[in-house]
C-alpha cells in the first residue's frame, strides 16, 4: 500500500491538453474518486498513475519513490479496466492467477492467494468457466480479483461499473465500497457518475478540461461547491442558479421583482462590494421550502411541472426565464399552474461570480 502523489502532472497529445497540470495527494488506504464529464482528463490521469501513459511533464510518487518513468510492471499497481480486459481465452482461475504466474510465484503460494480472493469475491463456482462467457457482473468480480490478488500498492479502477445495468450497478457499488474498506487498499477510481462518486469516495476530485476544479469530501463538495460547474455537476438534480443583483440588504432576482431579504452577515459583508453588479445565486433543490399561503420572505411562483421521485417529488418553477427545481415531500397537494410561495433557506445560499463561475460565498 502506498500514498500516491502527483506533482504538476501534464499529458499533452499534440495540441490536445488532456491533463494540464494537476497536483493531487492520495492518502494511504483512502478511496479517491476522479469525477468529471467525458474528456476532462480523468482517465488519462489514471493511466499516468498506472504507467500506461508517460506524462509530458510533472512527477508521480508512490510514497517517497519517484515512479514517473517506470513501466507499469515496475510500479506494482492493480487495475480494473472499463470493460474489464479479462483474457478471453482463459478460465476464471487462469485469469486470476495470471499476475502471479507472470511473476513466477511458487504454485503453493498461488494456491493460497487464490483461496483468499475466491473467498472474498465469492468466485468458487465460477473458477472453471471461460472468462468471456460470464455475465458482466461476474466479469467485474473476476477483474477485481485479478487486480488485488498480488496485493498491489495502488488499486486503479476505470469506470468499472459503467457496463452494468442500473440495478446491479447500485449493488456492486456498495459491495465495492465495503470491499475497499475491508482490504484497506489505496484506491483511485474514475467515473463520470456523480452518484457513484458521492457514494464511494472518501475524497472526490472534480476535474474539467484537464484541470482539478475542486477537491474535498462528498459532503464538502455538495454543500460548498467552489464553482457553478461543481454545484451543477453534483446532485440529482443539480443546484439551481439565478442571476441576481444586490440592493439594500436584499437579493433581487433578475427578470422578476422578487427580493430576498438577507440576514447573514457574511453574505452582506461580501455583497456590499457587488453593489449593482450581477452575480449568481445558487441553492440546492431541497433547500427551498414551499407553502400554500403567503409567508414572510416568500416568492410567489407558478408550478410548471411535477415529477414524482419516490418519497419526494421535483417541482419545476419559472424564475425569470430559468427553470427552478425544488425537491419537496408530498405534504402539499400541487397541480401545474398553481401559484405557491417558495422560501429559500438563507443559510444554504451560495453566491458565484457571474463572469468566471467561481464561488464568492459557499
Amino acid at each position: 500500500m502506498s500514498r500516491v502523489k502527483l506533482e504538476n502532472l501534464k499529458k499533452h497529445y499534440g495540441n490536445v491538453k488532456a491533463v494540464d497540470g494537476i497536483d493531487l495527494q492520495v492518502e494511504n488506504g483512502s478511496f479517491v474518486v476522479l469525477l468529471g464529464p467525458s474528456g476532462c482528463g480523468k482517465t488519462t490521469t489514471l493511466r499516468c498513475i498506472a504507467g500506461l501513459e508517460i506524462p509530458t511533464e510533472g512527477k508521480i510518487y508512490f510514497d517517497e519513490r519517484d515512479v514517473t518513468g517506470l513501466s507499469p510492471s515496475e510500479r506494482n499497481v492493480g487495475m480494473v479496466f472499463q470493460f474489464y480486459a479479462l483474457y478471453p481465452h482463459m478460465s476464471v482461475l487462469e485469469n486470476i492467477t495470471f499476475p502471479l504466474r507472470a511473476c513466477r510465484v511458487p504454485p503453493r503460494k498461488i494456491e493460497e492467494k487464490v483461496k483468499e480472493v475466491v473467498q472474498i469475491f465469492q468466485l468458487k463456482n465460477l473458477l472453471k468457466y471461460k472468462a468471456s462467457i460470464l455475465p458482466p457482473g461476474d466479469q467485474q468480480r473476476v477483474a477485481l480479483a485479478r487486480a488485488v490478488v498480488r496485493e498491489p500498492n495502488v488499486l486503479l479502477l476505470d469506470e468499472p461499473l459503467s457496463a452494468l445495468d442500473e440495478k446491479f450497478r447500485e449493488e456492486m457499488r456498495s459491495e465495492l465500497g465495503k470491499l475497499q474498506k475491508r482490504i484497506g487498499i489505496t484506491t483511485v477510481y474514475v467515473t463520470h457518475d456523480q452518484r457513484e462518486a458521492m457514494a464511494l469516495g472518501d475524497v472526490i476530485v472534480v476535474m474539467r478540461d484537464g484541470l482539478i476544479l475542486q477537491t474535498g469530501s462528498p459532503q464538502e463538495l455538495y454543500e460548498h461547491p467552489n464553482s457553478v460547474f461543481v454545484g451543477n455537476f453534483l446532485g440529482t438534480p443539480g443546484m439551481n442558479f439565478v442571476e441576481c443583483v444586490y440592493e439594500e440588504n436584499s437579493l433581487v432576482l433578475k427578470g422578476t421583482d422578487y427580493r430576498l431579504k438577507l440576514h447573514r452577515p457574511d453574505l452582506i459583508d461580501v455583497l456590499k462590494d457587488y453593489q449593482s453588479r450581477e452575480f449568481i445565486m445558487g441553492i440546492r433543490p431541497e433547500y427551498v421550502h414551499i407553502d400554500g399561503e403567503a409567508v414572510n420572505g416568500g416568492l410567489l411562483l407558478e408550478v410548471i411541472a411535477i415529477e414524482p421521485a419516490g418519497r419526494y417529488r421535483l417541482v419545476d418553477f419559472l424564475v425569470g426565464e430559468k427553470i427552478f427545481r425544488v425537491r419537496t415531500d408530498w405534504g402539499l397537494s400541487l397541480v401545474a399552474g398553481q401559484k405557491v410561495w417558495a422560501r429559500v433557506r438563507e443559510d444554504k445560499v451560495c453566491i458565484f461570480d457571474r463572469d468566471n463561475g467561481m464561488a464568492i460565498v459557499s
Binding site: A50, G51, L52, S71, P72, S73, N76, V77, G78, M79, F81, F83, A85, L86, Y87, P88, H89, M90, S91, F98, P99, R101, A102, C103, K128, Y129, K130, S132, I133, R146, R150
Partner: protein, 331 residues
Amino acid sequence: MNKDKVGKNTEAANQKEDLVEKFTRVSDKFTTAKKTYGLSDRTFMFFFLLPSLFILLFLVGYPFITLIKSGFYNFSVLRAATPPKFIGVENFSFILTDPFTWERFIFTGKFVILNVLVQFLLGIGIAYLLQKNFRGRSLVLTLILMPMMLCPIVVGLFWKYMFNTEWGIVNYILALFGMGKVEWLARENVSVYSVIIVDTWMWTPFMILLALAAFTAIPKYLYEAAEIDRASSWFKFRHITLPLSAPVLIIAVLFRMIDSIKAFDLIYTLTGGGPGSATQTLSFDLYKRAFQYFYTGEASAYGVILLLVIMSLSLIFIRYLNRLAAQNMRR
C-alpha cells in the same frame, strides 16, 4: 342536416365498395398471370444456377469421376487405340508396395514438415517484429511481400542461377567470407535444403501476412492488462498473442502444408527433381508417371491416393480448428 349526413355516409360507403371491387379485380388479374407462366421464384432461381451447375459438372465432376475410374484400369492415353483393361486395385497395390513411392513419401513428409516449420517460425517471428510501428514500416512490409507475388517458375530459374556452383552469386558471397564452394543443387543431401530455402524465401511472406493480421486483431487493452499484471514480453506472447491468434495460424499452416505437398513448379525449374530423384515430391513423381511415362491408369490411382492424404490431413486440422472455436464459444 342529419339526413344530409346520412346521405354523405352512404355515398362514402358506396365509394369504398367500388374501390374494394376494383382492387379484387386487379388482384385477380395477377393471380391469373401467375397461372399462365407457372414459374415460382424457386424455379426461376434454379434456371439461373443451371449454367454454372453444368460448368461444374463438366469441369470438376466429370474429370474427377474419370480419374477415379481410370485408377482401376490399365490404360495409357498414348495408346488410345488399345481399350482400357480393368485390373481392379492392382494400380493401387502396385503404388503402395513400390519402395520408390515410399521414398518419395518420406522425402515429401520431410520436405513438408521442415518447410512449414521454418516458414512458420520465421513468419510469426517477423510478424511479431513488424507489429510495432516504426518509420518506413509500410515500405518494409511491401518489400517483404514481393517474393509471394512473383511467378514460381521465375523464382525457380533465378535461384537456379544464383545457386550455380561455379558462377552463382551465393557461392560468390560465401567465397568472400572465405568459405568453400557448395554444390547447392547437385548434391543429394544439400539439394533438399536448397529447395526449402527457395520455397521459404518465396512463401514466408504468406505466413507473415496472416500472422500479422491475426496479431493486430488482438485488442490492445489485453496487452495493457498484461503489462499491469507484470507479464514479461515472452509471457505475453506465449499466453496472449499465440493462443488468441491460433485459429488463423492453424489455417496458415494448413495452407502452406497443402501447398508444400503439391509443390511442383518451383522444384521443376530449380532442380528438375534431381539430382537423381532426390528432390522429387509426390506430385513431381505423379507428374512424371502421368506426362513422361504416360501410365495414365497408374497416375490416376496415384492422384487419388494423394488426394486422400491431403484430405485427411486437412480434416485433422479442421477438426482441431473447430475444437478451438467451440472452446472459445462455450464451456
